[in-house]
Symmetry: C2
Subunit: 240 residues, 2 copies
Amino acid sequence: MSNPTAAMLVIGDEILSGRTRDSNMHHLAGELTKHGITLAEARFVADDTDAIVAAVRALSQAHTHVFTSGGIGPTHDDITADSIAAAFDTPIGVRDDARALLAAHYERTGAELNEARLRMARIPDGATLIDNPISVAPGFTLQNVHVMAGVPTIFEAMVASVLPTLTGGAPLLSQSLRVERGEGDIAAPLGKLAEEFPDLSFGSYPFSQNGIYGTNIVVRGQDGAQVDAAMSALAKMVAA
Amino acid sequence: MSNPTAAMLVIGDEILSGRTRDSNMHHLAGELTKHGITLAEARFVADDTDAIVAAVRALSQAHTHVFTSGGIGPTHDDITADSIAAAFDTPIGVRDDARALLAAHYERTGAELNEARLRMARIPDGATLIDNPISVAPGFTLQNVHVMAGVPTIFEAMVASVLPTLTGGAPLLSQSLRVERGEGDIAAPLGKLAEEFPDLSFGSYPFSQNGIYGTNIVVRGQDGAQVDAAMSALAKMVAA
Protein backbone atom coordinates (compact mmCIF):
# COMPACT_ATOMS: atom_id res chain seq x y z
CA MET A 1 0.00 0.00 0.00
CA SER A 2 2.55 2.56 -1.07
CA ASN A 3 0.08 4.65 -3.02
CA PRO A 4 0.20 8.41 -2.45
CA THR A 5 -2.32 9.66 0.10
CA ALA A 6 -4.67 12.59 -0.14
CA ALA A 7 -7.01 14.57 2.10
CA MET A 8 -10.11 16.54 1.28
CA LEU A 9 -11.13 19.79 2.93
CA VAL A 10 -14.76 20.86 2.43
CA ILE A 11 -15.33 24.52 3.32
CA GLY A 12 -18.73 26.03 4.06
CA ASP A 13 -21.26 26.95 6.75
CA GLU A 14 -24.11 25.67 4.57
CA ILE A 15 -22.94 22.07 4.86
CA LEU A 16 -22.30 22.11 8.63
CA SER A 17 -25.70 23.72 9.25
CA GLY A 18 -27.42 20.91 7.36
CA ARG A 19 -28.80 23.21 4.66
CA THR A 20 -26.81 21.58 1.86
CA ARG A 21 -25.69 17.98 1.56
CA ASP A 22 -22.15 17.66 0.26
CA SER A 23 -21.62 15.45 -2.78
CA ASN A 24 -18.08 16.49 -3.66
CA MET A 25 -16.31 14.23 -1.18
CA HIS A 26 -18.07 11.13 -2.48
CA HIS A 27 -17.21 12.10 -6.06
CA LEU A 28 -13.55 12.77 -5.25
CA ALA A 29 -13.27 9.53 -3.25
CA GLY A 30 -14.34 7.46 -6.25
CA GLU A 31 -12.09 9.32 -8.70
CA LEU A 32 -9.01 9.07 -6.45
CA THR A 33 -9.55 5.34 -5.90
CA LYS A 34 -9.64 4.80 -9.68
CA HIS A 35 -6.48 6.88 -10.04
CA GLY A 36 -4.51 4.96 -7.41
CA ILE A 37 -4.46 7.71 -4.79
CA THR A 38 -5.71 6.81 -1.30
CA LEU A 39 -8.14 9.28 0.26
CA ALA A 40 -6.90 8.96 3.83
CA GLU A 41 -9.05 11.57 5.55
CA ALA A 42 -11.50 14.40 5.04
CA ARG A 43 -12.40 17.45 7.07
CA PHE A 44 -15.34 19.83 6.94
CA VAL A 45 -14.87 23.33 8.35
CA ALA A 46 -16.94 26.54 8.47
CA ASP A 47 -16.25 29.77 6.57
CA ASP A 48 -13.68 30.77 9.18
CA THR A 49 -10.15 31.85 8.32
CA ASP A 50 -8.47 30.33 11.40
CA ALA A 51 -10.22 26.98 10.90
CA ILE A 52 -9.28 26.85 7.20
CA VAL A 53 -5.64 27.85 7.82
CA ALA A 54 -5.20 25.26 10.59
CA ALA A 55 -6.74 22.47 8.52
CA VAL A 56 -4.75 23.31 5.37
CA ARG A 57 -1.47 23.35 7.31
CA ALA A 58 -2.17 20.03 9.04
CA LEU A 59 -3.43 18.23 5.94
CA SER A 60 -0.81 19.53 3.51
CA GLN A 61 1.97 18.34 5.82
CA ALA A 62 0.44 14.90 6.34
CA HIS A 63 -0.48 14.02 2.75
CA THR A 64 0.84 14.12 -0.81
CA HIS A 65 -2.22 16.04 -2.00
CA VAL A 66 -4.99 18.15 -0.50
CA PHE A 67 -8.18 18.96 -2.40
CA THR A 68 -10.44 21.77 -1.20
CA SER A 69 -14.01 22.52 -2.19
CA GLY A 70 -15.96 25.74 -1.68
CA GLY A 71 -15.49 29.40 -0.87
CA ILE A 72 -13.94 30.77 -4.08
CA GLY A 73 -16.91 32.84 -5.34
CA PRO A 74 -17.38 36.65 -5.38
CA THR A 75 -19.19 37.25 -2.07
CA HIS A 76 -17.97 38.36 1.36
CA ASP A 77 -18.16 34.79 2.75
CA ASP A 78 -15.79 33.44 0.06
CA ILE A 79 -12.53 33.50 1.98
CA THR A 80 -10.81 30.34 0.78
CA ALA A 81 -8.20 31.89 -1.55
CA ASP A 82 -7.03 34.38 1.09
CA SER A 83 -6.97 31.63 3.74
CA ILE A 84 -4.84 29.32 1.55
CA ALA A 85 -2.40 32.19 0.95
CA ALA A 86 -2.27 32.81 4.70
CA ALA A 87 -1.67 29.11 5.41
CA PHE A 88 1.49 29.25 3.28
CA ASP A 89 2.49 32.84 4.23
CA THR A 90 2.21 33.73 0.54
CA PRO A 91 1.14 37.14 -0.88
CA ILE A 92 -2.12 37.23 -2.84
CA GLY A 93 -3.59 39.70 -5.34
CA VAL A 94 -5.54 40.00 -8.58
CA ARG A 95 -3.54 38.20 -11.25
CA ASP A 96 -3.49 39.39 -14.86
CA ASP A 97 -4.16 36.05 -16.55
CA ALA A 98 -7.08 35.27 -14.24
CA ARG A 99 -8.47 38.80 -14.74
CA ALA A 100 -8.20 38.37 -18.52
CA LEU A 101 -10.19 35.11 -18.37
CA LEU A 102 -12.95 36.81 -16.39
CA ALA A 103 -12.95 39.97 -18.55
CA ALA A 104 -13.41 37.92 -21.74
CA HIS A 105 -16.17 35.85 -20.13
CA TYR A 106 -18.18 38.80 -18.84
CA GLU A 107 -17.75 40.67 -22.12
CA ARG A 108 -19.31 37.64 -23.85
CA THR A 109 -22.18 37.36 -21.37
CA GLY A 110 -22.79 41.12 -21.05
CA ALA A 111 -22.34 41.18 -17.26
CA GLU A 112 -20.10 43.71 -15.56
CA LEU A 113 -16.67 42.70 -14.24
CA ASN A 114 -17.24 44.61 -11.00
CA GLU A 115 -15.14 44.67 -7.85
CA ALA A 116 -16.93 41.62 -6.37
CA ARG A 117 -16.36 39.48 -9.46
CA LEU A 118 -12.76 40.65 -9.65
CA ARG A 119 -12.20 38.96 -6.27
CA MET A 120 -12.35 35.68 -8.20
CA ALA A 121 -9.08 36.68 -9.91
CA ARG A 122 -7.27 36.88 -6.56
CA ILE A 123 -4.66 34.12 -6.78
CA PRO A 124 -1.76 33.47 -4.36
CA ASP A 125 1.72 34.14 -5.79
CA GLY A 126 3.25 31.09 -7.46
CA ALA A 127 -0.02 29.19 -7.89
CA THR A 128 -1.03 27.39 -11.10
CA LEU A 129 -4.56 28.01 -12.39
CA ILE A 130 -7.10 25.18 -12.64
CA ASP A 131 -9.37 25.39 -15.67
CA ASN A 132 -13.10 26.01 -15.09
CA PRO A 133 -14.90 25.07 -18.32
CA ILE A 134 -18.30 25.92 -16.83
CA SER A 135 -18.21 29.40 -15.35
CA VAL A 136 -14.58 30.40 -16.18
CA ALA A 137 -13.52 31.69 -12.70
CA PRO A 138 -10.46 29.48 -12.12
CA GLY A 139 -9.36 27.28 -9.26
CA PHE A 140 -5.67 27.04 -8.43
CA THR A 141 -2.95 24.75 -7.13
CA LEU A 142 -0.57 26.18 -4.52
CA GLN A 143 2.17 23.75 -3.47
CA ASN A 144 0.28 20.46 -2.86
CA VAL A 145 -3.16 22.04 -2.33
CA HIS A 146 -5.71 22.01 -5.14
CA VAL A 147 -8.35 24.69 -4.56
CA MET A 148 -11.67 24.10 -6.31
CA ALA A 149 -15.24 25.40 -6.41
CA GLY A 150 -18.04 24.04 -4.25
CA VAL A 151 -20.75 23.90 -6.94
CA PRO A 152 -20.71 20.17 -7.80
CA THR A 153 -20.67 20.47 -11.60
CA ILE A 154 -17.72 22.89 -11.43
CA PHE A 155 -15.94 20.86 -8.75
CA GLU A 156 -16.22 17.73 -10.87
CA ALA A 157 -14.93 19.50 -13.97
CA MET A 158 -11.95 20.83 -12.01
CA VAL A 159 -11.17 17.36 -10.61
CA ALA A 160 -11.20 16.09 -14.19
CA SER A 161 -8.66 18.81 -15.11
CA VAL A 162 -6.32 18.18 -12.19
CA LEU A 163 -6.29 14.40 -11.73
CA PRO A 164 -4.56 13.47 -15.02
CA THR A 165 -1.64 15.74 -14.03
CA LEU A 166 -1.01 13.83 -10.77
CA THR A 167 1.04 10.68 -10.37
CA GLY A 168 -1.15 7.86 -9.15
CA GLY A 169 -0.37 4.36 -7.97
CA ALA A 170 -1.96 1.04 -8.74
CA PRO A 171 -5.74 1.46 -8.79
CA LEU A 172 -7.45 -0.14 -5.83
CA LEU A 173 -9.36 -3.20 -7.07
CA SER A 174 -12.40 -4.45 -5.24
CA GLN A 175 -14.79 -7.39 -5.46
CA SER A 176 -17.80 -8.01 -3.31
CA LEU A 177 -19.96 -10.92 -2.23
CA ARG A 178 -23.54 -10.69 -0.94
CA VAL A 179 -24.22 -13.17 1.85
CA GLU A 180 -27.63 -13.72 3.40
CA ARG A 181 -26.24 -14.15 6.91
CA GLY A 182 -25.74 -11.71 9.74
CA GLU A 183 -22.33 -10.12 10.30
CA GLY A 184 -22.07 -11.93 13.62
CA ASP A 185 -22.22 -15.34 11.91
CA ILE A 186 -19.36 -14.69 9.52
CA ALA A 187 -17.20 -12.41 11.65
CA ALA A 188 -14.89 -15.14 13.00
CA PRO A 189 -14.05 -16.89 9.69
CA LEU A 190 -13.80 -13.50 7.98
CA GLY A 191 -11.28 -12.34 10.58
CA LYS A 192 -9.17 -15.43 9.90
CA LEU A 193 -9.28 -14.79 6.16
CA ALA A 194 -8.13 -11.22 6.76
CA GLU A 195 -5.10 -12.58 8.64
CA GLU A 196 -4.27 -14.95 5.75
CA PHE A 197 -4.25 -12.07 3.25
CA PRO A 198 -2.46 -9.22 5.07
CA ASP A 199 -2.08 -7.12 1.88
CA LEU A 200 -5.83 -7.01 1.26
CA SER A 201 -8.54 -5.21 3.19
CA PHE A 202 -11.79 -6.98 4.08
CA GLY A 203 -14.84 -4.88 4.81
CA SER A 204 -18.22 -6.16 5.93
CA TYR A 205 -21.38 -4.08 5.60
CA PRO A 206 -24.67 -5.30 7.04
CA PHE A 207 -27.90 -4.74 5.12
CA SER A 208 -31.58 -5.45 5.62
CA GLN A 209 -33.72 -5.58 2.51
CA ASN A 210 -37.28 -6.93 2.14
CA GLY A 211 -36.98 -8.63 5.52
CA ILE A 212 -33.70 -10.34 4.66
CA TYR A 213 -30.75 -9.61 6.91
CA GLY A 214 -27.37 -10.08 5.29
CA THR A 215 -23.87 -8.78 4.79
CA ASN A 216 -21.97 -7.43 1.83
CA ILE A 217 -18.34 -8.46 2.06
CA VAL A 218 -15.89 -6.31 0.10
CA VAL A 219 -12.30 -7.38 -0.64
CA ARG A 220 -9.94 -4.62 -1.73
CA GLY A 221 -6.34 -4.66 -2.87
CA GLN A 222 -3.91 -3.74 -5.63
CA ASP A 223 -2.97 -7.28 -6.73
CA GLY A 224 -5.75 -8.76 -8.86
CA ALA A 225 -4.55 -12.36 -8.41
CA GLN A 226 -4.62 -12.00 -4.63
CA VAL A 227 -8.11 -10.48 -4.71
CA ASP A 228 -9.26 -13.42 -6.89
CA ALA A 229 -7.71 -15.94 -4.49
CA ALA A 230 -9.37 -14.29 -1.51
CA MET A 231 -12.75 -14.29 -3.25
CA SER A 232 -12.41 -18.05 -3.93
CA ALA A 233 -11.56 -18.69 -0.29
CA LEU A 234 -14.45 -16.48 0.74
CA ALA A 235 -16.92 -18.39 -1.46
CA LYS A 236 -15.76 -21.69 0.09
CA MET A 237 -16.02 -20.24 3.58
CA VAL A 238 -19.57 -19.04 2.99
CA ALA A 239 -20.64 -22.38 1.46
CA ALA A 240 -19.26 -24.30 4.47
CA MET B 1 -23.42 32.98 19.19
CA SER B 2 -22.76 31.33 22.54
CA ASN B 3 -24.37 28.02 21.60
CA PRO B 4 -22.40 24.88 22.51
CA THR B 5 -20.30 23.50 19.64
CA ALA B 6 -20.02 19.94 18.41
CA ALA B 7 -17.89 17.92 16.04
CA MET B 8 -18.69 14.78 14.09
CA LEU B 9 -16.25 11.94 13.43
CA VAL B 10 -17.24 9.50 10.66
CA ILE B 11 -15.22 6.28 10.80
CA GLY B 12 -14.88 3.85 7.90
CA ASP B 13 -12.78 2.81 4.90
CA GLU B 14 -15.93 2.31 2.83
CA ILE B 15 -16.71 6.01 2.79
CA LEU B 16 -13.19 7.21 2.00
CA SER B 17 -12.89 4.68 -0.84
CA GLY B 18 -16.07 6.02 -2.42
CA ARG B 19 -17.98 2.75 -2.05
CA THR B 20 -20.56 4.21 0.33
CA ARG B 21 -21.89 7.74 0.48
CA ASP B 22 -22.25 9.01 4.04
CA SER B 23 -25.64 10.37 5.02
CA ASN B 24 -25.16 10.53 8.78
CA MET B 25 -23.33 13.85 8.84
CA HIS B 26 -26.09 15.61 6.95
CA HIS B 27 -28.70 14.11 9.27
CA LEU B 28 -26.80 15.10 12.42
CA ALA B 29 -26.16 18.62 11.09
CA GLY B 30 -29.87 19.27 10.68
CA GLU B 31 -30.79 17.81 14.08
CA LEU B 32 -28.08 19.78 15.92
CA THR B 33 -29.12 23.03 14.24
CA LYS B 34 -32.72 22.49 15.41
CA HIS B 35 -31.45 21.72 18.93
CA GLY B 36 -29.32 24.87 19.19
CA ILE B 37 -25.94 23.14 19.02
CA THR B 38 -23.49 24.38 16.38
CA LEU B 39 -21.79 21.69 14.30
CA ALA B 40 -18.41 23.39 14.02
CA GLU B 41 -16.45 20.72 12.15
CA ALA B 42 -16.49 17.15 10.90
CA ARG B 43 -13.76 14.65 10.16
CA PHE B 44 -13.75 11.39 8.21
CA VAL B 45 -11.06 8.83 9.04
CA ALA B 46 -10.30 5.24 8.00
CA ASP B 47 -10.63 2.11 10.18
CA ASP B 48 -7.26 2.89 11.77
CA THR B 49 -6.71 3.03 15.53
CA ASP B 50 -4.11 5.82 15.49
CA ALA B 51 -6.25 8.01 13.23
CA ILE B 52 -9.35 7.50 15.39
CA VAL B 53 -7.49 8.13 18.66
CA ALA B 54 -5.88 11.33 17.36
CA ALA B 55 -9.16 12.68 16.00
CA VAL B 56 -11.13 11.85 19.17
CA ARG B 57 -8.57 13.57 21.38
CA ALA B 58 -8.42 16.71 19.24
CA LEU B 59 -12.19 17.02 18.78
CA SER B 60 -13.21 16.20 22.37
CA GLN B 61 -10.86 18.91 23.67
CA ALA B 62 -12.08 21.51 21.20
CA HIS B 63 -15.85 21.02 21.46
CA THR B 64 -18.64 20.48 23.98
CA HIS B 65 -19.77 17.31 22.20
CA VAL B 66 -18.36 14.79 19.73
CA PHE B 67 -20.57 12.37 17.79
CA THR B 68 -19.03 9.35 16.09
CA SER B 69 -20.56 7.09 13.46
CA GLY B 70 -19.38 3.63 12.39
CA GLY B 71 -17.18 0.74 13.49
CA ILE B 72 -19.14 -0.73 16.41
CA GLY B 73 -20.26 -4.02 14.79
CA PRO B 74 -19.00 -7.58 15.37
CA THR B 75 -16.28 -7.89 12.70
CA HIS B 76 -12.49 -7.51 12.82
CA ASP B 77 -12.63 -4.07 11.21
CA ASP B 78 -14.93 -2.69 13.94
CA ILE B 79 -12.37 -1.01 16.17
CA THR B 80 -14.18 2.12 17.31
CA ALA B 81 -15.00 1.10 20.92
CA ASP B 82 -11.42 0.05 21.63
CA SER B 83 -10.08 3.20 19.98
CA ILE B 84 -12.33 5.46 22.07
CA ALA B 85 -11.16 3.65 25.23
CA ALA B 86 -7.55 4.16 24.12
CA ALA B 87 -8.14 7.85 23.42
CA PHE B 88 -9.19 8.36 27.06
CA ASP B 89 -6.74 5.79 28.57
CA THR B 90 -9.77 3.91 29.90
CA PRO B 91 -10.04 0.11 30.38
CA ILE B 92 -12.59 -1.72 28.20
CA GLY B 93 -14.28 -5.13 28.46
CA VAL B 94 -17.56 -6.97 27.99
CA ARG B 95 -20.10 -5.34 30.29
CA ASP B 96 -22.87 -7.33 31.97
CA ASP B 97 -25.79 -5.07 31.11
CA ALA B 98 -24.76 -4.86 27.45
CA ARG B 99 -24.25 -8.63 27.33
CA ALA B 100 -27.72 -9.16 28.83
CA LEU B 101 -29.30 -6.97 26.14
CA LEU B 102 -27.61 -8.98 23.41
CA ALA B 103 -28.37 -12.37 25.05
CA ALA B 104 -32.10 -11.56 25.27
CA HIS B 105 -32.14 -10.32 21.66
CA TYR B 106 -30.39 -13.36 20.19
CA GLU B 107 -32.51 -15.73 22.25
CA ARG B 108 -35.59 -14.07 20.72
CA THR B 109 -34.22 -14.26 17.18
CA GLY B 110 -32.71 -17.73 17.53
CA ALA B 111 -29.18 -16.62 16.53
CA GLU B 112 -26.14 -17.58 18.56
CA LEU B 113 -24.46 -15.05 20.87
CA ASN B 114 -21.02 -16.09 19.69
CA GLU B 115 -17.64 -14.52 20.40
CA ALA B 116 -17.91 -12.10 17.47
CA ARG B 117 -21.33 -10.80 18.54
CA LEU B 118 -20.11 -10.54 22.12
CA ARG B 119 -17.61 -7.92 20.93
CA MET B 120 -20.59 -5.59 20.64
CA ALA B 121 -20.90 -5.71 24.45
CA ARG B 122 -17.37 -4.31 24.89
CA ILE B 123 -17.92 -0.94 26.57
CA PRO B 124 -15.26 1.35 28.09
CA ASP B 125 -15.40 1.69 31.90
CA GLY B 126 -17.63 4.51 33.06
CA ALA B 127 -19.56 4.87 29.80
CA THR B 128 -23.36 5.26 29.60
CA LEU B 129 -25.19 3.04 27.09
CA ILE B 130 -27.12 4.54 24.17
CA ASP B 131 -30.33 2.70 23.31
CA ASN B 132 -30.53 0.91 19.94
CA PRO B 133 -34.23 0.21 19.27
CA ILE B 134 -33.45 -1.41 15.91
CA SER B 135 -30.79 -4.08 16.38
CA VAL B 136 -30.23 -3.85 20.17
CA ALA B 137 -26.39 -3.67 20.20
CA PRO B 138 -25.93 -0.40 22.12
CA GLY B 139 -23.90 2.71 21.46
CA PHE B 140 -22.31 4.53 24.39
CA THR B 141 -21.31 7.93 25.73
CA LEU B 142 -17.84 8.24 27.29
CA GLN B 143 -17.11 11.71 28.69
CA ASN B 144 -18.27 14.08 25.91
CA VAL B 145 -18.08 11.53 23.07
CA HIS B 146 -21.25 9.86 21.81
CA VAL B 147 -20.41 6.65 19.94
CA MET B 148 -23.04 5.46 17.48
CA ALA B 149 -23.56 2.94 14.69
CA GLY B 150 -22.84 3.66 11.02
CA VAL B 151 -26.00 2.07 9.57
CA PRO B 152 -28.14 5.17 8.93
CA THR B 153 -31.42 3.91 10.45
CA ILE B 154 -29.61 2.91 13.65
CA PHE B 155 -27.52 6.09 13.72
CA GLU B 156 -30.64 8.21 13.41
CA ALA B 157 -32.43 6.30 16.18
CA MET B 158 -29.41 6.75 18.47
CA VAL B 159 -29.26 10.49 17.73
CA ALA B 160 -32.94 10.67 18.68
CA SER B 161 -32.08 8.95 22.01
CA VAL B 162 -29.11 11.17 22.84
CA LEU B 163 -30.12 14.67 21.71
CA PRO B 164 -32.95 15.26 24.21
CA THR B 165 -30.46 14.60 27.04
CA LEU B 166 -28.10 17.38 25.90
CA THR B 167 -28.40 21.06 26.77
CA GLY B 168 -28.92 23.06 23.60
CA GLY B 169 -28.98 26.78 22.95
CA ALA B 170 -31.32 28.92 20.91
CA PRO B 171 -32.18 27.10 17.68
CA LEU B 172 -30.58 28.68 14.63
CA LEU B 173 -33.31 30.35 12.56
CA SER B 174 -32.93 30.81 8.85
CA GLN B 175 -34.82 32.46 6.03
CA SER B 176 -33.88 32.47 2.39
CA LEU B 177 -34.56 34.53 -0.71
CA ARG B 178 -34.22 33.33 -4.29
CA VAL B 179 -32.85 36.02 -6.58
CA GLU B 180 -32.52 35.65 -10.34
CA ARG B 181 -29.24 37.51 -10.48
CA GLY B 182 -25.66 36.28 -10.42
CA GLU B 183 -23.71 36.30 -7.18
CA GLY B 184 -21.35 38.89 -8.63
CA ASP B 185 -24.20 41.40 -9.05
CA ILE B 186 -25.36 41.26 -5.45
CA ALA B 187 -22.05 40.62 -3.69
CA ALA B 188 -21.29 44.27 -2.85
CA PRO B 189 -24.69 45.26 -1.34
CA LEU B 190 -24.88 41.87 0.40
CA GLY B 191 -21.48 42.45 1.99
CA LYS B 192 -22.71 45.84 3.31
CA LEU B 193 -25.84 44.23 4.75
CA ALA B 194 -23.67 41.63 6.51
CA GLU B 195 -21.74 44.49 8.15
CA GLU B 196 -24.99 46.12 9.31
CA PHE B 197 -26.14 42.90 11.01
CA PRO B 198 -22.99 41.53 12.70
CA ASP B 199 -24.96 38.95 14.76
CA LEU B 200 -26.41 37.29 11.66
CA SER B 201 -24.70 35.19 9.02
CA PHE B 202 -25.40 35.78 5.33
CA GLY B 203 -24.72 32.96 2.89
CA SER B 204 -25.07 33.15 -0.87
CA TYR B 205 -25.36 30.02 -3.00
CA PRO B 206 -25.38 30.25 -6.79
CA PHE B 207 -27.68 28.04 -8.83
CA SER B 208 -28.42 27.41 -12.48
CA GLN B 209 -31.78 25.88 -13.28
CA ASN B 210 -33.49 25.62 -16.68
CA GLY B 211 -31.07 28.14 -18.10
CA ILE B 212 -31.66 30.67 -15.31
CA TYR B 213 -28.64 31.77 -13.30
CA GLY B 214 -29.42 33.01 -9.84
CA THR B 215 -28.50 33.05 -6.18
CA ASN B 216 -30.15 31.76 -3.04
CA ILE B 217 -29.41 34.11 -0.16
CA VAL B 218 -29.74 32.59 3.31
CA VAL B 219 -29.88 34.67 6.49
CA ARG B 220 -29.23 32.80 9.75
CA GLY B 221 -29.35 33.89 13.36
CA GLN B 222 -30.84 33.25 16.77
CA ASP B 223 -32.90 36.45 17.06
CA GLY B 224 -36.07 36.16 14.97
CA ALA B 225 -36.72 39.91 14.92
CA GLN B 226 -33.23 40.58 13.57
CA VAL B 227 -33.61 37.92 10.90
CA ASP B 228 -36.94 39.49 9.88
CA ALA B 229 -35.37 42.97 9.73
CA ALA B 230 -32.51 41.67 7.60
CA MET B 231 -34.93 39.94 5.22
CA SER B 232 -36.85 43.22 4.76
CA ALA B 233 -33.63 45.09 4.04
CA LEU B 234 -32.62 42.33 1.66
CA ALA B 235 -35.92 42.51 -0.25
CA LYS B 236 -35.47 46.30 -0.66
CA MET B 237 -31.89 45.84 -1.76
CA VAL B 238 -32.85 43.29 -4.41
CA ALA B 239 -35.74 45.43 -5.69
CA ALA B 240 -33.46 48.47 -6.07
